[in-house]
């Protein structure tokens, strides 16, 4: 099924090539609108933007090494109910995977949507990106610098920082579930930017646009495997370190010690889909006397309370849906390594249910299915 076309790249600038492609989609009426990361007039801000006028595509830059929010959330808001026509969304792989989780949770619909993805080379933290872009002069040049460095083996580190830990540990950098995906890895940009169709929908679109098929670039496989090996090794080190740092309750309390209950992590989390988090409802409106009772019991009570409880609850609720995008850590004002904890626990819970968040819409969320024979090691086959 997989079919690859090549998009012409002029002046060695893949971003321009993407913009051209998007313009074609809009102008030829293939879509009503396009959601894409775009440089805002505000200095160096890159935000998902819903574009209907092809003229407004000038600042579109899905390859900018930053994503201030996981756009799955906005796509979910766009697609919760049927609307007129068809919309294309340009997303990073982790955004696509988060969106797939949201679709399963009935928070969005994949119908009427064309998902366009890309090989993700990683992104800087929101604050780091500002420095990176400022150094390059403007956002567009910053993107080109980043891509060239990354693709030509010069790495992604800049001054004293690098792409986020989440990105470094991410093994899902290829947008397998997108209808169409731009394949940067292994590509020789002079020969065009490969655009791969992963679904019948994507394939049909390539046909409608009259794009000629081409072969997958020779170096791609190796490039993908190389990056995967790097990322996996990094990830496994991270798992081991995090597991050691949180191996008992005292360690976990110290790990989360700087949490101030700002709940930024759950606001940033793309799969935390509750309309209102249980921690802000009456459930946690403790009676004033209760605090005193707790304090009296141990002689001292850290305030605010329920910080560890909050993270444990979120782990219980969301770790099976965690895609590891790292927005939680990105949003934390106190540098609590939330992502590391979530990914480490999620690896276990998802393995336990033989589930991978974001892999497929067909795969049912673990808690909504009942399997009579599972956890043999716990039940010994008896229930």
């Amino acid at each position: 099924m997989a079919r690859t076309a090549a998009i012409e790249v002029t002046e060695g600038n893949p971003v321009k090539a993407l913009q051209e492609f998007f313009r074609t989609l809009l102008e030829r009426g293939k879509i009503e609108a396009l959601l894409v990361a775009r440089h805002l007039p505000v200095r160096n801000a890159v935000m998902p933007t819903l574009v209907t006028d092809p003229q407004q595509l000038a600042g579109a830059d899905p390859l900018a090494p930053v994503f201030p929010i996981n756009a799955a959330k906005v796509v979910s808001r766009l697609t919760r109910k049927p609307f007129e026509g068809r919309v294309a969304v340009v997303l990073r792989p982790c955004e696509i995977r988060a969106f797939i989780e949201l679709v399963k949770l009935k928070q969005g619909r994949r119908e009427q949507l064309i998902i366009i993805g890309m090989d993700c080379l990683g992104a800087y933290g929101n604050v780091d990106y500002l420095r990176f872009a400022a150094a390059a002069g403007d956002g567009s040049s910053a993107t080109l610098d980043f891509i060239r460095n990354a693709l030509e083996g010069r790495g992604t580190a800049f001054e004293d920082f690098d792409i986020t830990t989440a990105c470094k540990a991410c093994e899902h950098f290829v947008a397998e579930s997108a209808d169409l995906s731009f394949e940067l890895l292994g590509a020789t940009l002079g020969e065009g930017l490969p655009l791969q169709a992963n679904t019948p929908l994507g394939e049909a679109l390539l046909g409608e646009l009259g794009l000629a098929s081409t072969r997958e670039p020779a170096g791609r496989k190796e490039a993908v495997l190389d990056l995967l090996a790097q990322r996996t090794a990094y990830r496994d080190r991270m798992f081991a370190e995090t597991a050691a740092a949180t191996s008992d309750l005292d360690k976990l309390m110290s790990y989360l010690g700087h949490c101030v209950n700002c709940y930024n992590c759950r606001v940033a989390c793309p799969v935390c889909y509750c309309r209102e988090c249980v921690f802000t409802t009456d459930v946690f409106d403790h009676e004033p006397a209760q605090f005193l009772r707790w304090a009296r019991k141990k002689g001292a009570l850290k305030m605010p309370t329920d910080t560890v409880f909050y993270h444990l609850t979120r782990l219980a609720h969301m770790s099976t849906a965690c895609v590891g995008c790292g927005q939680c850590s990105n949003a934390c004002p106190n540098h609590v390594p939330v992502m590391e904890l979530f990914r480490t626990i999620a690896a276990g819970t998802q393995r336990a249910f033989d589930y991978e968040a974001g892999r497929s819409v067909e795969e049912e969320p673990p808690l909504s299915t009942f399997r009579e024979k599972e956890f043999f090691e716990v039940t010994g086959g008896k229930d």
Binding site: L105, Q107, R275, E276, R293, M318
Partner: protein, 1140 residues
């Protein structure tokens, strides 16, 4: 719940008794449920696992709608329902009067322990000096004379086995609550006069009876006896027949003149038995034969003693009687040398094996040999022990043994990780029930259970403590193999006491001792008003027993209704509770000090202080288990005006039953009353640490107090019901169901897609037992057509249905395309099935190849005359019992036997050959199999791998088959080849299932809620299934199922409004993200997404309060009444505060 006038007695509290009782109770009738045994549950008490799930699941029988009226916990532990009076250790001893107005007499066996006072602490057991074999473990373990009849009952009260008790009185002394009364004084007052000329006889009788607690006088001659009698005070006379001087009969005459009511039992040697019998004509009550068996003698005296004092007898009126006395297991020891049973300890019966394997059995579930406790590596099951045996008066198949043996073998495999070798030695593997065939194949293919078709010759001692089994295979070759354990798959027999029961009821019995029932009914006896239920009617597994119990309840209900049963309500309306919804929670606690005993074990002052600190009012009472104690508690609670009540007592389950009364008395909804168990922390043997006991009790109480303080005081709502039924399918099942409901006074719409009622009955002319389906059809269709409450819709289809139990709205489409909308409360799907069209064996190529239905039709029409035939071949399992139609159709073996016998009857010279895989002549059908063999029908077994071959040439048929005995092929040239092609479900079943939100299984038959426990219900509440749309079955079986389904429907229709449970789920819409995980998680289909209003809607009647939705909801938008997060948090805090 409101009650109807009318009541029934159900005799036997096993599965079927419970089902019948529940069916009637849910409908609103009053039921008295009795059992001879001291506990409920019948055989199921002893069985941990049932096929096909290999779980228990008995609790699934409990009510789903109005569930608060019954217990909601493990049914093997115990059971109550507010309309059922349960009496254990009770027998039916008298019936008088007429149907609708029987006067019954019950006799209660004394248990010597007051269940109201027994707290189950086991102090009595530790001092009891007597040890006897424990029936619960089939005699594999021992128990004391004071014991728990079922070790896992809740609440669990001890009973004294009077036969084993030595009356030492130790238990009476140690019982902390004074619950035991051995009635020693009453026996002492009972004077027995023993008259015999032999001193040694007099002395030994005196010794035995005095040991049993009676007062004994002796006389050595008639003269002395009469003198002693004249002094008065004598209750029973034991009188020797042959004495010098005045003989026994003369003494008897004189004595009776003196005391006309005197109870006399003659004692006789064998030679004078006739005289003893004569003596009974002149007033002796019984006689005893010398030499005496002390046990029998004491038992007889105890029996007379109880009868004379009319002890434990009770009389009352009931409208109907349902006999659900169950079955007895065949005792291999009762026949000469049955496979070495009782010679070798390692030969056990199935029930002994079940106990051997059980976690509560002798080895805690480890498979060890009874003889030497060595690990078991190889087990053999021998089928048909005591069944299919003319010598043992068992010309029947017990129907259940094949499946339980497979289950036992499979469990042996599972428990041993496949290490145990399991082999089943059988004649026919009768896997005739729904999904049985696949279960068998799973055992064979996935677990490696060996199935060996054979005749077992003998069981002898083998090597190394093993047993050597010698058997001949189907080809007649002898084999020998060693096994560690041999399990005898013992068949069913009528239960002990059947003779007395039959006499009492005046019901005729079959030659093998089962109660006779009317044509086309398994439950109606010739005696109106007396019905049989479950396996008591003979040879049924759980699923069939449950169905048949429903059918019996239905028959009883019909009688009660006809007697005006539902014309008036007898009980009061739902009591008026105080409205406390706006009051701040105020909890009062009443704590029972157990007459000071508990107050000694724990510091009640500190506990009270702790609770008062939480804002509770605390009262101490002496003994809440007594009427006075509870009244006292009620009085203080009423005065306190608290709006939540916490009872600290023992055995919360006991109080659960009293909560409604208590609530009524203090004007508080029972939902706002909680019982906490404060007795267990202070049980003997748990240490004497007063501080620990105090802490534990305080923890239990403060948890309960926290829950009450946080409880939502809104009472459950009642929901109005549409009291009308929709029945889809106008075959015999649909018609029976429609009639049944209509006869109870409710409107029924009967939908049939063809142009006439009757379905398959139109193609059947005879049943195997000689009844006429045509007559049945005529009568039933006429009754349906003229019934004022039934609207028949012919040539109509259901095209749409929505709503939920109690309020369905269904759209029909008539032949012309016109639509019609019907509102109804319940739906019964009875859409049936039909004979499959064969695809194999040359069907369609030649007129001489027909199906069983076609043969029957041609015989009826005279198109085929038996006299013209010389040879007929029948092939069984055509297209059946193999994928994709891998199920037994259950009726084809019977049809083959029926047609074969018909041919033989009309032309004894015709050769009939039946080529079969396993003859499914289950139950009483076996006798026809026997008859057919006697009539000369030839049965030839074939394997799937070597099926018969059929060739046709010029209208002639040749059948070639492998004869297993001869081990060579035989060729037959029959005039007719008859194919038994089985049953397929109606096309359209799956579509209809979709319309009603229910499912079909992979074979297209309706998927019931649970195969064994809820066979006629769907998971979707308010929708029921019956007939062959559910699974293949005979006419009578289909009708029984239709009756069972109507009975379940009636339990809903019998109310104008119904209550949801007090614990149900709710949605906090403002928090809900509509992810619908809760809909997926709900096992009862009680939740749906309303797309129009964009909300999740809950069907309150279907919701069972399991909490799966609340667990899956991340932000508590879905919550469970009575278990809100805050409540649970404070309960946890309360619990942890005391203990950590």
């Amino acid at each position: 719940m409101k009650n109807k006038r009318g009541s029934a007695l159900v005799v036997g509290a096993g599965i079927s008794g419970m089902r019948s009782a529940l069916d009637l109770a849910e409908e609103g009738y009053r039921v008295t449920l009795i059992d001879k045994a001291p506990g409920l549950g019948g055989t199921l008490r002893q069985l941990d696992y049932q096929f096909p799930t290999d779980h228990c699941g008995m609790c699934k029988m409990l009510p789903v709608v109005e569930r608060d009226s019954a217990s909601q916990y493990c049914l093997r532990k115990g059971f109550f329902h507010e309309n059922i009076d349960i009496m254990a250790a009770t027998e039916l001893v008298g019936i008088e009067g007429e149907p609708g107005k029987f006067q019954v007499t019950l006799r209660h066996q004394p248990t010597m322990v007051d269940p109201e006072r027994c707290i189950g602490c086991a102090a009595c057991v530790t001092v009891c000096p007597v040890e006897v074999p424990d029936e619960f473990n089939a005699g594999l373990t021992t128990r004391k004379a004071v014991y728990l009849p079922v070790p896992h009952n809740v609440p669990n009260h001890y009973v004294v086995d009077p036969a084993a008790c030595s009356r030492c009185g130790e238990c009476e002394r140690v019982c902390p609550t004074g619950a035991i009364d051995l009635q020693l004084e009453a026996r002492k007052a009972f004077k027995v006069l023993v008259v015999d000329d032999e001193l040694v006889v007099r002395d030994s009788i005196k010794e035995w009876l005095e040991d049993a607690g009676f007062q004994v006088e002796m006389a050595e001659s008639g003269v002395e006896a009469l003198e002693k009698l004249s002094q008065g005070g004598c209750s029973l006379l034991l009188l020797d027949v042959k004495m010098p001087g005045m003989d026994g009969v003369e003494v008897l005459k004189n004595a009776r003149e003196m005391h006309p009511d005197l109870d006399v039992v003659m004692m006789t040697a064998y030679a004078t038995v006739e005289t003893a019998v004569e003596a009974m004509k002149v007033g002796a009550m019984d006689y005893l034969m010398k030499p005496f068996d002390p046990e029998a003698l004491v038992a007889l005296v105890v029996n007379r003693y109880r009868k004379l004092l009319r002890m434990g007898e009770q009389q009352f009126e009931v409208g109907a009687i349902i006999l659900a006395a169950g079955f007895a297991n065949f005792d291999p020891a009762s026949a000469p040398d049955t496979y070495g049973y009782h010679t070798f300890e390692n030969v056990v019966t199935s029930i002994e094996y079940e106990r051997l394997m059980s976690g509560t059995g002798p080895h805690g579930g480890k498979l060890l040999r009874p003889e030497d406790s060595q690990r078991i590596r190889k087990i053999a099951w021998l089928q048909c022990v005591g069944s299919r045996n003319l010598h043992l008066n068992a010309d029947y198949c017990s129907s259940v043994c094949c499946m339980f043996s497979i289950k036992e073998a499979l469990l042996a495999k599972e428990k041993s990780d496949g290490q145990v070798d399991a082999a089943i030695f059988y004649m026919d593997m009768r896997t005739f029930g729904k999904d049985f065939q696949r279960y068998r194949e799973r055992a064979e293919r996935d677990y490696g259970v060996r199935f060996i078709r054979s005749r077992v010759h003998s069981v002898e001692a083998g090597e190394a403590g093993c047993l050597q089994l010698r058997y001949s295979d189907i080809e007649g070759r002898m084999h020998a193999e060693d096994f560690d354990l041999v399990v005898l798959a013992t068949g069913q027999r009528p239960p002990a006491g059947s003779d007395e029961l039959a006499e009492l009821c005046g019901v005729e019995r079959t030659p093998s001792g089962f109660f006779k029932t009317e044509p086309f009914s398994f439950s109606r006896t010739a005696k109106q008003g007396i019905f049989v239920s479950g396996s008591f009617g003979g040879l049924r597994d759980i699923s069939e027993s449950v169905i048949q119990a429903g059918s019996a309840a239905f028959a009883a209900s019909t009688l009660l209704h006809a007697g005006g049963g539902s014309l008036s309500r007898v009980t009061d309306d739902e009591p008026a509770y105080r409205d406390v919804t706006r009051d701040p929670p105020k909890v009062a606690a009443a704590l029972c000090s157990c007459a000071g005993d508990l107050a000694r074990a724990a510091d009640f002052k500190a506990i009270a202080q702790k609770l008062e600190g939480m804002g509770l009012e605390v009262f101490l009472t002496e003994r809440m288990c007594t009427r006075e104690g509870l009244d006292e508690a009620c009085r203080v609670l009423r005065e306190s005006r608290a709006n939540r009540v916490l009872l600290g007592a023992c055995m919360p389950y006991v109080y659960q039953r009293k909560l409604k009364d208590l609530g009524k008395s203090i004007g508080l909804h029972p939902f706002l009353i909680e019982v906490a168990d404060i007795r267990t922390p202070a049980f003997p043997g748990r240490g004497e640490d007063r501080a620990r006991v105090t802490r534990e009790i305080a923890s239990v109480l403060s948890m309960a107090a926290s829950r009450l303080q946080g409880i939502d005081p809104l009472p459950p709502r009642s929901v109005p019901l549409s009291r009308r039924a929709l029945v889809v399918g106008g075959g015999i099942a649909g018609m029976t169901a429609a009639l049944g409901i209509a006869e109870h006074g409710y409107e029924v719409d009967l939908i049939e897609r063809s142009e006439k009622l009757g379905g398959n009955l139109h193609r059947l002319y005879r049943t195997l037992d000689g009844w006429s389906p045509q007559q049945l059809l005529e009568q039933t269709a006429a009754a349906v057509n003229k019934h004022p409450h039934i609207s028949v819709h012919l040539e109509a289809r259901v095209v749409h249905s929505e709503g939920q139990v109690g309020r369905f709205v269904t759209t029909l489409e008539h032949a012309g395309g016109a639509g019609e909308t019907i509102e109804h409360g319940v739906a019964i799907l009875a859409t049936g099935g039909s004979e499959a069209k064969p695809q194999e064996y040359g069907y369609g190529q030649c007129d001489a190849i027909v199906t069983q239905h076609e043969l029957e039709d041609q015989l009826q029409r005279g198109q085929v005359a038996p006299g013209d035939l010389t040879s007929v071949v029948m092939i069984q399992c055509v297209g059946s019992r193999e994928e994709p139609r891998n199920y037994c159709s259950r009726v084809c073996c019977a049809a083959a036997l029926k047609n074969a016998l018909y041919l033989k009857e009309h032309n004894p010279h015709v050769e009939v050959y039946i080529l079969y895989r396993d003859m499914m002549a289950y139950g009483f059908l076996e006798s026809y199999y026997t008859q057919a063999r006697r009539a000369g029908v030839v049965f030839i077994q074939y394997q799937v791998a070597a099926k018969p071959r059929v060739e046709t040439a010029n209208g002639a048929v040749t059948v070639t088959a492998l004869d297993p005995l001869l081990q060579r092929e035989i060729a037959l040239s029959p005039d007719l080849l008859v194919l038994s092609s089985g049953i397929v479900p109606s096309n359209g079943n799956d579509e209809l299932a979709g319309i009603f939100g229910v499912t079909v299984n992979r074979d297209g038959f309706y998927q019931e809620a649970e195969y064994k426990w809820r066979p006629v219900e769907f998971l979707r509440e308010g929708v029921f299934a019956c007939g062959i749309g559910h699974s293949p079955r005979s006419i009578t079986e289909s009708m029984a199922m239709a009756e069972a389904a109507s009975q379940r429907a009636l339990s809903i229709l019998s109310r104008e409004r119904t209550m949801g449970g007090s614990i149900t789920a709710q949605v906090r819409h403002s928090l809900c993200s509509l992810c619908q995980l809760c809909i997926e998680a709900c096992p009862y289909g009680a939740r749906r997404y309303d797309a129009e209003d964009e909300v999740i809607v809950i069907d309150e009647l279907a919701c069972q309060g399991c909490g799966a939705c609340a667990a899956v909801c991340p932000n508590s938008a879905s919550v469970l009444r009575g278990y809100r997060d805050q409540q649970l948090f404070s309960m946890l805090d309360a619990a942890l505060e005391e203990l950590f």
